[in-house]
């Protein structure tokens, strides 16, 4: 095991903040990277939270998939790094148990 210091978490850590926007769970949602074409669950993204917003990058090629920035009561959401995000609407967060 190396002693490399990693500066990212994963998509699980963004799920609380994204639950303010999406009514279904995003961590299990499948998305495609617009750069390399990799198809992964959102839980698998590399998540950078040290800045003023949240940046999710592709775990394969590190392309920026999603950016979220909060300015007062407004949220800016940029998802152009994904060609799609497939959300399961069969159970909302409210009934996930």
């Amino acid at each position: 095991m190396s002693s490399t210091t990693y500066d990212y978490l994963d998509g699980n850590a963004a799920a609380g903040e994204l639950s303010r926007i999406f009514v279904t769970d995003v961590t299990a949602a499948e998305g495609q990277c617009a750069h390399c074409g990799a198809i992964k669950r959102f839980a698998e993204v590399h998540l950078y939270m040290q800045g003023p917003g949240i940046v999710a990058r592709c775990a394969v090629c590190e392309n920026v998939l999603l950016r979220l920035a909060k300015v007062g009561q407004r949220v800016f959401l940029d998802m152009r790094g994904m060609t799609y995000l497939k959300l399961d609407t069969s159970h909302s967060l409210k009934s996930s148990a």
């Binding site: 095991m1 190396s2 002693s3 639950s19 839980a43």
Partner: protein, 243 residues
């Protein structure tokens, strides 16, 4: 949506970690592996949000347990591990997450691998299996600094006694119990080969810990033939902290 939970019990797991039991009247229920966000707000309006894995199994009592490890320069964890008292109220958002979860309907062999406090969501899975009477065979490989840093040790021992379908292997990284066969060290390929399910059984693997731990272990699991789509991971911060 933020809910208010009342602290109804406190229990020290180690010198540095405390379990808080919260009663949340409108709790919608959770699945093992999910987490909650906790928001603390100061009198001047400043607020801080942190994510904590749920330690308790799903239960009908609207109770949620979280185990919090105190971080030396933490903003929230010193309060939660030292200052919170029974009867205090905390704001919670959740349950959160539908990917890093285990449900009692799953019957395949389960391999859990924890690094330090990464044990918390995996303990929820073990407790969920136990309380639901699930039949899936479980193995836990628990990497921990030293014996006194182990969370839930007594309970894990009780659950893994005799011919239990739960088998627990400890990997101590700094100090071991007396006469422990393996010298202190990180999880390596030999330990993965000896202590985890053979990949030909098709186990579902759940790995939780700091990012460096998760990256290394996921690589080792893939290296012995586990398919990447059978490996689910959850990384926790703080990020980029000086060692």
């Amino acid at each position: 949506m933020w809910r208010v939970g009342t602290v109804v019990a406190l229990h020290d797991e180690t010198d540095m970690a405390r379990t808080l039991t919260l009663e949340v009247p409108d709790w919608p229920g959770h699945v093992a592996g999910q987490h909650v966000d906790v928001r603390l707000t100061a009198s001047d309006g400043y607020s801080a949000v942190r994510s904590y894995s749920i330690a308790s199994a799903p239960n009908p009592k609207a109770r949620v347990e979280i185990t919090v490890e105190r971080l030396a320069n933490g903003e929230v964890s010193p309060y939660l591990t030292q200052d919170v008292a029974i009867g205090d109220q905390l704001e919670l958002r959740g349950p959160i997450g539908g990917w890093f979860v285990w449900r009692p309907q799953q019957t395949e062999p389960i391999q859990l691998i924890a690094g330090g406090s990464g044990i918390v969501p995996l303990m929820a899975m073990i407790r969920s299996r136990s309380s639901a009477g699930g039949t899936a065979p479980f193995r836990l490989l628990y990497s921990v600094r030293e014996p006194r840093a182990v969370f839930y040790g007594v309970e894990l021992q009780a659950l893994s006694n005799h011919d239990s379908p739960l088998k627990v292997t400890y990997a101590y990284t700094r100090a071991t119990p007396k006469d422990w066969p393996r010298p202190p060290g990180r999880v390596d390929a030999a330990l993965i080969a000896n202590a985890t399910w053979p990949s030909n059984l098709g186990p579902r693997c759940y790995v939780c810990g700091p990012t460096s731990f998760v990256e290394a272990v996921a690589g080792l699991l893939a290296g012995v033939g586990n398919s990447p789509d059978k490996i689910r991971t959850e990384r926790f911060g703080p990020t980029g902290d000086p060692k």
